[in-house]
């Protein structure tokens, strides 16, 4: 199987999406910097977006009535919501930094019972 | 061109034809940016000189000192390449290239004449605005990686400024898109063919005002004076590029002049008819007829010169502004954006919407363009119920039909 001459299908895109998703999930789990966790979330959302666009693409699945435009539309909503989420998370992080002088999420344990 | 080259190659090497064609085009574009930067730096000195009642460079290179930039380039290349001790080496080295790549990517979608475009994108306007907004990354990285307080301040200002100015800039860009009904730069330009009254800047009073708002915001988003707070030398030494020297520094400047040219090009296409001259001369001479390849090519070449002239005029205008107005303070820059540009752009946007809705044919003279029919079909069809039924294979027309049926 020659990757350069074979056509690209949806599963290729799904693999890329999977790698990004897993990288994001591991990033969220291992980073201690709150902003690092935020970047992990962005990666996860982006991996999901790759899947949406690939499954809705007419170019990759000719003649198949898949999810059609839904894929691209949902991807647009994800991007917009990710921007909103980043703004709020950043505001929370700044607030946290203001009050505790650190961005280490491990130290945000004041609510521990 | 790729098809032409393919004839010379055996089948298994035919892919080289595409590579060669792509490289030639990329070479042309990159030299436009680099050579343009050389010319603009010389022009900037002459313009600033004349505005300040002096001559500018005269000694190097005979008349008008036109070799001055080349001599400067030689000096920059031979300069020692310094990096501060606490700097983040990788980011420090990458930053100028990030800036330059972003500025250069905008040229991918910028049409120079009818069909002379790197990639004809359906969303070209959006793409160009997006890519030009990425240039800020290089500046932020440079500011951070330099490990210098002046650089960091410059980068912070740049980030705040560019992100804010993208809002009114986007609104201004939407207005010509709204009139044209498409985001394809080639189509937008084709729709303004004919007399200069067809140019979108003269479409209605609102577009005329919004062009000036666009130009202000574009000047701010490419960091030109009076909005060059990121490099305000009177307060921040040299801002984000304080620690840069030699070739890396000059790459930042190539990026800056590259994006100046790009936003001027965008303005020329969105508001000033792109490659169409004020008088449809090429049309009278039969140079726009696609069935005669040689004449068409020549017409396109003239169109390209026309377009370049408009771009250079835009850049010169920015220089004129730079050497005329004093630099704003950072809070004044933000006030200009949020309290003046954004509301004006919003009002003009609503005004232009109403104008196109109530007076689609213009106020006095019915607007006629050669390409009136190239709007995306659903729009025209929805407006004129008596129009001939377009071909059935157009996927968009059923919607227009259905929406009309529902509204009855």
């Amino acid at each position: 199987m020659n990757l350069l001459s074979d056509p690209v299908g949806v599963s290729h895109y799904l693999i890329v999406g999977a790698v990004m998703f897993v990288a994001g999930a591991v990033c969220m789990a291992t980073k201690r910097n709150a902003l690092g966790v935020l970047m992990g979330i962005e990666l996860v959302l982006n991996g999901a977006n790759v899947n949406f666009v690939a499954l809705g693409s007419e170019l990759l699945r000719p003649g198949v009535s898949g999810i059609g435009l839904d894929g691209q539309l949902v991807a647009l909503f994800v991007i917009v919501l990710a921007a909103a989420e980043a703004a709020v998370a950043l505001a929370i992080t700044l607030n946290y930094y203001n009050n505790h002088a650190t961005v280490d999420v491990d130290q945000a344990d004041e609510l521990k019972g | 061109m790729a098809e032409y080259l393919k004839g010379f190659l055996s089948p298994e090497w035919q892919f080289l034809a595409y590579v060669a064609a792509a490289l030639v085009h990329a070479f042309l574009l990159i030299n436009l940016v680099a050579g343009g930067a050389l010319a603009f730096i010389w022009l900037e000195r002459k313009v600033s000189g004349r505005i300040q009642d002096r001559l500018g460079p005269t000694r190097v290179g005979g008349k008008f000192g036109w070799l001055q930039t080349l001599a400067d380039g030689l000096k920059l290349i031979t300069k020692e390449d310094l990096m501060p001790e606490g700097a983040d080496g990788m980011l420090f080295r990458m930053a100028p290239y990030v800036s330059f790549c972003a500025s250069f990517c905008g040229y991918l979608a910028l049409p120079f004449a009818d069909g002379w475009v790197g990639a004809r994108l359906n969303v070209a306007v959006f793409f160009m605005v997006a890519v030009l907004g990425i240039e800020v990354f290089g500046v932020i990285l440079a500011g951070y990686a330099s490990a210098s307080k002046w650089s960091l301040f410059g980068a912070m200002r740049e980030a705040a400024q560019v992100v804010s100015y993208e809002v009114p800039l986007g609104m201004c860009v939407v207005v010509p898109v709204l009139i044209a009904g498409t985001m394809d730069l080639v189509t937008i330009s084709q729709m303004q063919a004919g007399w200069f009254s067809n140019w979108f800047v003269f479409h209605d009073p609102f577009t005329f005002v919004i062009f000036w708002v666009y130009f202000t915001c574009a000047t701010a988003s490419v960091n030109r004076a009076p909005f060059d707070l990121a490099e305000a030398e009177s307060e921040l030494v040299a801002g984000f590029h304080t620690e840069y020297s030699g070739l890396r520094w000059s790459i930042f400047f190539m990026a800056e002049y590259g994006s100046m040219f790009a936003v001027s090009g965008l303005a020329a296409i969105l508001f000033f008819g792109g490659w169409n001259g004020p008088i449809p001369l090429a049309d009278w001479l039969g140079l726009t007829d696609a069935s005669r390849p040689l004449a068409h090519y020549f017409g396109n070449f003239l169109g390209m010169l026309n377009f370049m002239f408009k771009c250079v005029f835009g850049v010169t205008f920015m220089m004129w502004v730079r050497w005329t107005l004093p630099r704003l303070r950072i809070d004044q820059v933000m006030t200009t954006c949020l309290k003046y540009c954004t509301p004006i752009a919003a009002v003009m946007f609503v005004g232009a919407t109403l104008w196109t809705y109530f007076l689609p044919g213009g106020l006095f003279i019915p607007r006629q363009t050669r390409y009136g029919s190239i709007r995306e079909g659903w729009h025209l069809e929805a407006q004129q119920p008596t129009a001939v039924e377009p071909p059935a294979e157009d996927p968009l027309n059923p919607v227009a039909r259905r929406t009309r049926a529902e509204s009855r």
């Binding site: 001459s5 690209v8 990288a23 962005e42 982006n46 666009v53 505001a91 | 996927p395």
Partner: protein, 201 residues
């Protein structure tokens, strides 16, 4: 030598860039470099969107994600980047745990992605040319008219194929709420020391 499929070539280029920089985000511990790698990864992803025929989503990704969200992120990084917070090390135990969980998740995802026949590649020849009016169709979809599903005969399904007008409105209101809320959260408050975060300019 077989002829090169340019679509595949550019797919490989962008896909490898996206994956490599996504992994680099995980592996580096310097938070500014993480942000830089994230930019490159997301930029390469927008290239993938262009290749899949989703021009508008690709440009949107460049504009909002790369040009907006990440500038904001880097802004946050700079505001909080002080000595110890620039690079925070993760303990080896967490790395091992993360690698095991991530590796197994990746295995499951990839095996499921390659196991469906309908998702396999189809030969290039019978592919339609890229649709030229992506943006218009998306815009109509957001206004509530779906142009890609007009031939849906099943009435139940056709009802589900409605547009996205309501979500679009909800998102607009949501953005406004977020704008006000984050401005309220991040507003400059005087700390005991007398300096506030907003004083940096």
């Amino acid at each position: 030598m077989e002829t090169i499929n340019w679509h595949s070539f550019f797919f490989l280029l962008f896909a490898s860039l996206a994956c490599v920089f996504a992994l680099a985000v995980v592996l580096t511990s310097n938070v500014v470099r993480m942000a830089f790698y994230l930019v490159l990864s997301l930029g390469a992803t927008s290239g993938l969107f262009f290749l899949a025929g989703a021009d508008f989503v690709g440009a949107m990704q460049l504009m909002i994600y790369v040009g907006g969200t990440l500038v904001l992120l880097i802004f946050g990084v700079m505001l909080t980047a002080k000595g110890p917070f620039i690079s925070m090390k993760t303990s080896a135990g967490e790395w091992i745990l993360g690698a095991i969980v991530g590796g197994s998740l990746l295995t499951v995802l990839i095996s499921s992605a390659t196991s469906v026949d309908a998702w396999r590649a189809v030969p290039r020849e019978d592919r339609p040319a890229a649709s030229q009016v992506t943006a218009t169709r998306l815009g109509l979809g957001l206004l509530g008219a779906r142009v890609d599903k007009l031939e849906q005969t099943d009435a139940t399904l056709a009802g589900g194929m409605s547009g996205y007008l309501l979500p679009f409105e909800i998102v607009s209101v949501h953005l406004l709420v977020v704008l006000i809320g984050s401005a309220y959260l991040a507003r400059s408050k005087r700390r005991a020391g007398g300096r506030s975060v907003g004083d940096h300019f």
